[in-house]
């Protein structure tokens, strides 16, 4: 068990003029793109779902699937077990579909304004993609606006397209796997997503194929009063390998917007899936006004022996984050990993963690969760490690560390360990500390500005997780932390 020393940091520094100035900076992705949108009227009903399904030219089974999910959702109570302060959400006031107007046939037809948006965000769409070597599926509000590198991927046999397209083009695959990891009635927000999801990414890596490049999805919420409900499905067949990146932003708005996504991963024998997220939804302003409600269900199923699923997430945005990327370790010797940095500032609330369900023999899981709380925010790790009866020789190690910056924030740890196998080993350790005076003094004495010193220390605190991110993402994540922490020093 670790113990970390904490001590007082100078309060005089809190009045630092630079810090006050820096407060004005912050969310760089907070602009609105003014383009023509088609959207469904606000409200949720079977009719709306039928319309949505019709707009997307979905087959009958898909419409039925959505309706079943919707009917189930109606019977479910809003979950309240996470101690989050959430204003009641009016599901009837939301619009469940918003799309840029013109019908799109290829990336070249995409509204230049939209491309400009992605340009501003630094998404390597179009030629830039070629340089970066990352295939991108970009989702703007409810629909996918273009997928790059289709040909190259197709040559390798990899299917990478929007979910809407997959439902039309590869219905058999979608029908086989959709909802097989996260069933429609899994939880309140997963049921809602199943009923109204508008788009998302579909990835299929055939047997033995190593995906030639990293795949990526960029999500952006632009329209007002819309919810974004995307659905991602990644299937990796025997012996295949894929690395997938996900990024998100939204404009600054005073009202809260809902984002309820579902991500399903299926890894068959010896397959490996690496899923990385940098989540930078608009977090709300310094008074806690506005921001995205990010209620996401992410789950991976290691179905085959020797398969591996690895989740890496950097969570800096959203007013409320509520997500637990999980692994079901079904195959013998399968491996689950979870690396997370969650940073909260101002009035943000994050309740995040993972579940590792060990079913197979000699399964292994590793959890590294780093929480940083500043301002008046609240940051919780909530996790479950479960060793079922058949998990002979299974192994887990969990490490959760929290860093407190300031006096009004909260850092919490709620790990659950359930062990039913006498040959399994579970270990959990957690610490909570703050940036020490000695560390600050050391840096300041060497002429390092206070803000830089804090970001250096925070960067060091997160290193173990950043190491797991693909390089471009690691750079972005580091920058994001710096921006998000502005004004937090003290």
């Amino acid at each position: 068990m670790n113990q970390t020393m904490t001590s007082d940091s100078s309060s005089a520094l809190r009045d630092n003029a630079e810090v006050a100035e820096a407060l004005g900076r912050g969310y760089a992705a907070g602009f609105v793109t003014d383009i023509e949108m088609t959207s469904l009227p606000p409200g949720l009903s079977e009719d709306i779902i039928r319309q949505l399904s019709a707009i997307k030219r979905e087959p009958q089974w898909m419409t039925q699937w959505r309706l079943d999910a919707y009917r189930h959702w109606l019977t479910m109570p809003t979950p309240d077990w996470a101690r989050l302060k959430i204003d009641p959400i009016d599901y009837q006031a939301l619009s469940y579909y918003a799309a840029p107007k013109a019908g799109l046939k290829s990336l070249d037809e995409v509204d230049p304004k939209l491309l400009e948006t992605y340009e501003k965000l630094g998404v390597p769409l179009h030629e830039r993609a070629r340089l970066a070597g990352v295939a991108v599926d970009a989702v703007f509000d409810s629909v996918s606006v273009g997928t790059t590198f289709r040909k190259e991927l197709a040559a390798a046999g990899v299917l990478f397209c929007s979910m809407s397209e997959a439902i039309r083009e590869y219905p058999a695959l979608v029908q086989q796997y959709l909802g097989s990891v996260v069933p429609t009635g899994d939880n309140f927000f997963a049921a809602l997503n199943s009923a109204v999801f508008s788009d998302g990414s579909f990835v299929f890596i055939p047997k033995g194929v190593r995906c030639p490049m990293e795949l990526s999805t960029y999500f952006r919420i632009n329209a007002q009063n819309t919810g974004q409900f995307e659905r991602t499905l990644i299937v990796a067949e025997e012996g295949s390998h894929v690395s997938y990146l996900e990024g998100c932003t939204a404009p600054k708005r005073d009202e809260n917007q809902l984002h309820a996504a579902v991500v399903e991963l299926v890894a068959l024998e010896r397959a490996q899936i690496k899923y990385s997220t940098v989540q930078n939804w608009y977090p709300g302003d310094e008074n806690g006004v506005g921001g995205i409600y990010n209620f996401v269900t992410k789950r991976g199923d290691c179905r085959g022996d020797d398969s591996k699923i690895s989740w890496t997430q950097v969570e800096t945005g959203s007013a409320i984050t509520w997500k637990y990327p999980s692994c079901i370790l079904r195959g013998d010797r399968s491996v689950g990993e979870f690396y997370s940095v969650a940073l909260t500032h101002h009035h943000q609330q994050a309740d995040t963690g993972t579940k590792m369900i060990h079913l197979g023999k000699h399964t292994k899981s590793k959890i590294v969760a780093k929480g940083i709380s500043a301002g008046r925010s609240s940051n919780s790790y909530r996790g479950l490690v479960k060793m079922e009866k058949g998990a002979d020789g299974a192994r887990n190690h969990t490490q959760c560390d929290s860093l407190l910056i300031g006096k009004r924030c909260g850092a919490h740890t709620f790990p659950y360990m359930e062990v039913k196998n006498p040959s399994a080993i579970v270990e959990h350790e957690a610490t909570t500390s703050k940036i020490s005076d000695e560390q600050m003094f050391y840096c300041r004495a060497r002429g390092i500005r206070e803000e830089d010193a804090v970001s250096m220390i925070v960067d060091g605190f997160c290193k173990q997780v950043f190491r797991e991110l693909p390089m471009e993402f690691a750079v972005e994540a580091k920058k994001l932390l710096e921006v998000s922490l502005e004004g937090a020093v003290g």
Partner: protein, 435 residues
């Protein structure tokens, strides 16, 4: 939808008449708590605090209240004797005070020790605060029925500055009766400023029986008070025992609590502590060792509410056969409790394929300048250590027993009463599963 039928347990407990006190406010509290118990019902596993302890089987059973023979059950007094404990003694059999088994003569100056039933006949006003405490949480069924139905228990007060050297022994005996009994006891314990006390709470069985017992203890430590409490739970193997201990520590008070959970079929202990004064300190140590089909659930909740408070907790669990050990160790550092230092360690051994351990250490930090850490593990004995011992000629069973005893030993290490410590270590050894 029709009202579901009331579970037999609930109905049978509500059948019992409230103990008459003749004190208006107390009768009022008892009525209210009984009504709350009836309305709230039994907790189920959907409630976070009862997630791992299902009461389905218990709920289907009936318990009679009040044992007419409580004063006459033969109890072997030799079984009550503990090494290193020779002070005043208060004995309850099936919840009723037994003067013949107790030792209340020549109490040291500064110590008040009497059964609750007697204390209520005198001036009940000083007990009003402690006895009026309402159980408000949704899962508080047993605290409620205890508040309503406990007619007897312990009143213990140590005057300010008094240092009581002889340990005080509180014994709760479950004695075999004609029917399955439910009984309830309540303790009110208060240490004045700078007072010192050693206390041992003992749960023992006289014969095999299947009773349900509840015990709620309110323990208050005023400024600078010092308490050593040891709980030895060796209840009948068929007994259901549900206890709640509520500690409140004022400034610079220091409490040390050692708990050994050995007996019982369904055992639940809510150990709740509030560190409300600056510089208060709490150390908890415990071992739970369920075997057979025992279910032992410890819910430790420590709340740091003042500056520079400290807590350290070391708990060990060993589950074998088809037993289940449940542990929750929640530490809350409230806003403003700067300078708090909290640590918790819960290590568990899972020795059989049918056994289960569920553990949940929690940290909830709302303050600054905090040092907090917790760790929990579930695993087996170290194969290499076993190999080492066996290669030196120890039979497997003995090597395992030795390592298991060493695993639990950390809990007893800082128990100051040496004869008692050795005795408890022997009890632990005797409980070890033969594998």
């Amino acid at each position: 939808m029709s009202q579901p039928a009331m579970p037999p347990l609930l109905a049978s407990l509500l059948d019992a008449p409230l103990p008459p006190s003749g004190i208006d406010w107390l009768d009022q509290v008892r009525r209210e708590q009984r009504a709350a118990f009836a309305a709230g019902g039994l907790p189920d596993t959907r409630m976070e605090a009862w997630k791992y302890t299902a009461l389905r089987a218990l709920a289907q059973r009936r318990f009679a209240s009040g044992d007419a023979a409580a004063q006459t059950h033969a109890v072997d007094t030799a079984a009550l004797v503990l090494p290193g404990i020779a002070g005043p003694r208060l004995v309850f059999v099936n919840g009723a005070f037994r003067a013949d088994l107790s030792r209340l003569d020549a109490l040291p100056t500064g110590l008040v020790l009497q059964p609750l039933s007697q204390a209520l006949q005198g001036d009940a006003e000083p007990l009003r605060f402690a006895l009026s405490r309402q159980a408000r949480e949704p899962g508080d069924a047993f605290a409620r029925i205890n508040a309503a139905s406990a007619g007897d228990g312990v009143v213990l007060r140590v005057a300010a500055g008094a240092k009581i050297t002889a340990p005080v022994q509180l014994v709760f005996v479950g004695a075999a009766a004609a029917v399955d009994l439910a009984w309830h006891a309540r303790s009110v314990i208060e240490l004045g400023e700078g007072a010192e006390l050693s206390l041992i709470e003992q749960h023992v069985a006289s014969g095999e029986q299947m009773h349900l017992a509840t015990l709620v203890s309110a323990i208050e430590l005023r400024e600078g008070a010092r308490l050593h409490a040891t709980v030895l739970q060796h209840a009948a193997i068929g007994a259901s025992l549900i206890r709640r201990s509520q500690l409140r520590l004022q400034a610079r008070a220091h409490a040390t609590v050692h708990v050994l959970e050995l007996g019982g079929a369904l055992v639940r202990h809510d150990l709740q502590a509030e560190l409300v004064g600056d510089g208060a300190r709490l150390d908890t140590r415990g071992v739970f060792m369920p075997h057979g089909r025992q279910h032992v659930d410890t819910q430790l909740a420590i709340r740091h509410q003042a500056l520079n408070t400290a807590s350290s907790s070391i708990w060990r669990g060993v589950a074998s056969d088809r037993a289940r050990g449940v542990f929750r160790g929640a530490i809350v550092v409230a806003p403003g409790a700067d300078g708090s230092d909290a640590s918790l360690s819960n290590k568990n051994l899972l020795l059989s394929p049918g056994a289960e351990i569920d553990t949940k250490p929690e940290l909830e930090i709302h303050a600054d300048e905090v040092k907090a850490a917790h760790g929990a593990t579930v695993g087996q004995l170290d194969e290499r250590a076993l190999f080492y011992l066996r290669s030196r000629g120890l039979p497997l069973a003995e090597a395992r027993a030795l390592l298991t005893a060493a695993f639990c030993r950390a809990v007893l290490d800082d128990l100051p009463n040496e004869p008692l410590r050795d005795h408890l270590a022997t009890l632990l050894l005797a409980q070890l599963p033969d594998t």
